[in-house]
Symmetry: C2
């Protein structure tokens, strides 16, 4: 690695003569022994979509062991190879959670929620960070007037309730995809749960979404319509039966809020044919994924991904084998 070392040594000797010597002089400077901070920065990030201010708020991460049960149609070795290609440790998949808040100027809108305060306690802050990162971002949960939910998996709805089961966002109306709500509250569908995981999800939906205080605030919305002005609902089923994405538009600016069309892109955009255990209908999920990602890459459309690495906003491009995410440049000014 070293270049010009002889010249350097000579130059160094000359300079050293002109400046105080280390031993004499370094003693003037006490070491402060400042304690290490030992914790991460509050993880939130802002950007504008036209007149809309978007705040991305990390809810933390999940750590999922890479076993046969993680991606159902490829071997763990193949998943680990992809993790290595992404310069990540093999053996454990790190899945980020990133809800967003939109300030439209007259609404404060939370899209999806993360895993909830109870999970913050259970994981010692590894996940369930939404409320702490909202506090750091200066967003009062009581000021959230609108919640839009993409689908009924726990990491998108559990944050509705605090650890004591009170409402985390007590003044918000809760807008849910009509089809998703119908499926997960249908006793007949529940009785036909194809897996234990899906049966468990029915139970969790009942716990959260039929909480009486949640029920009071609930309203369904339809695909192909604006949920609120500037937020259009697009059906992207497969991950769950009523899984919904949201196209956020202001003026000529757009971001496609893809929820779980792919999970973390370093595995599942790069390998759109992989069927992770949490895709409800894997064949349909893959078809949706390819269709949406063909559109996003062709249109060079900005995409916000719930499980993308924070701050989870990127462009995607088509590759020989799938798609690749190009994170936006972090702007230290808004």
């Amino acid at each position: 690695m070293t270049i010009l070392s002889r010249r350097t040594l000579l130059a160094g000797a000359a300079s050293a003569a002109a400046l105080p010597s280390f031993a004499l002089w370094s003693a003037q400077f006490a070491r402060a022994n400042t304690p290490q901070a030992g914790k991460q920065a509050a993880s939130f990030y802002r950007y504008k979509v036209g007149d809309i201010e978007v705040t991305v708020l990390s809810d933390g991460i999940a750590r999922v062991p890479v076993t046969e049960a993680f991606v159902l149609n490829v071997k763990p070795e193949e998943v680990n190879a992809a993790l290595r290609e992404a310069y990540m440790e093999p053996g454990v998949f790190i899945g980020p959670y990133n809800p967003i808040v939109l300030n439209t100027g007259n609404r404060l809108v939370l899209i999806d929620m993360g895993t909830g305060e109870a999970n913050y306690i259970a994981t010692k802050g590894v996940a369930g960070q939404l409320l702490t990162n909202m506090a750091a971002a200066g967003i009062d949960p009581k000021a959230v007037d609108t919640i839009i939910i993409s689908h009924y998996h726990g990491d998108h709805i559990n944050g509705l309730l605090r650890a004591d089961n009170s409402l985390a966002f007590p003044n918000a109306e809760i807008l849910v995809p009509a089809l998703e709500h119908k499926y997960w509250t249908d006793a007949g569908e529940e009785s036909r749960s194809p897996t234990q995981r899906i049966a468990d999800n029915f139970k969790n939906v009942r716990r959260v979404m039929t909480n009486p205080e949640v029920m009071k605030r609930l309203r369904t919305y339809e695909w192909d319509k604006d949920v609120i002005p500037g937020v259009h609902a697009v059906g992207t089923p497969g991950h769950t039966p009523g899984h919904t994405s949201h196209v956020v538009t202001s003026g000529s600016h757009t971001v496609y809020v893809q929820a779980d069309v792919t999970h973390a892109p370093f595995l599942f955009a790069r390998h759109p044919g992989w069927h992770a255990f949490y895709d409800h209908e894997p064949i349909q999920a893959e078809a949706t994924r390819r269709k949406v990602y063909d559109m996003l890459s062709a249109e060079k459309m900005l995409v916000q991904g719930f499980h993308y690495p924070f701050p989870s906003v990127a462009h995607v491009e088509k590759t020989a084998t799938g798609y690749r995410e190009i994170p936006v440049l972090w702007s230290p000014v808004l």
Copy 2:
């Protein structure tokens, strides 16, 4: 984009019947009209290298018009094409500044400084953010006991002085590359300045580095030696004559702090043959760049880049035409 829309509409109608209607119910929820925050999150990020805690601190960004004078050996159209390929607006290059702080357990070390408080005032906070982001990160400038400088360009040294010319880090010793110090304080070299830009840099170095309070704290260091325990100096000349990189090591963990071996990677790692106006000796700078990046990609070594997009820590891989940076996954936990 829409899938299953007929099924959805039917499902939606059914669900809507079971839930309160929008018009009746939405009136319960007042709009808070929360003002938009209008500013970015404090931009700092932490990670560990063995026992060393690294804090990356944004100093903001520069905006450089893409003209003939920006990259000397390619046309502006080619630069703009590369910006478009990186999903950035053509016409203006956005160059980030990212100093770092190391807390080694017994030293608090700042590597490079950013553009300074005077520039914070001049740019209205677009650059010169180091002190504000340090405050957000809970790092007291008075607690910094060691400053290590890579080279003597203004964006790496101007932050030594506050807007009133007092020391920004009054209790720190200032460790500078011997060869770099010799070159930029040599009247003969100054008289031979090949360009106005270099002549101006000699003047700026005199202003900052021969400030009497800076001089009192100055000590030169040599290439191929530890600057302090855990921080090894590697000569990487070309960008400036004494330009130095730093290999930070703790236990089996390493990060290569590359300073300006490349400027922003989305242009200059991807196009290592491009000669930007600020490379002092462009042929030597390119040779150094290729040598370092061949090593970084072959070794899969973590790299911290002063002008990388915040948080400016990545791996790099060799491509057909140059190198590509793979940003690390943001970890919302330390």
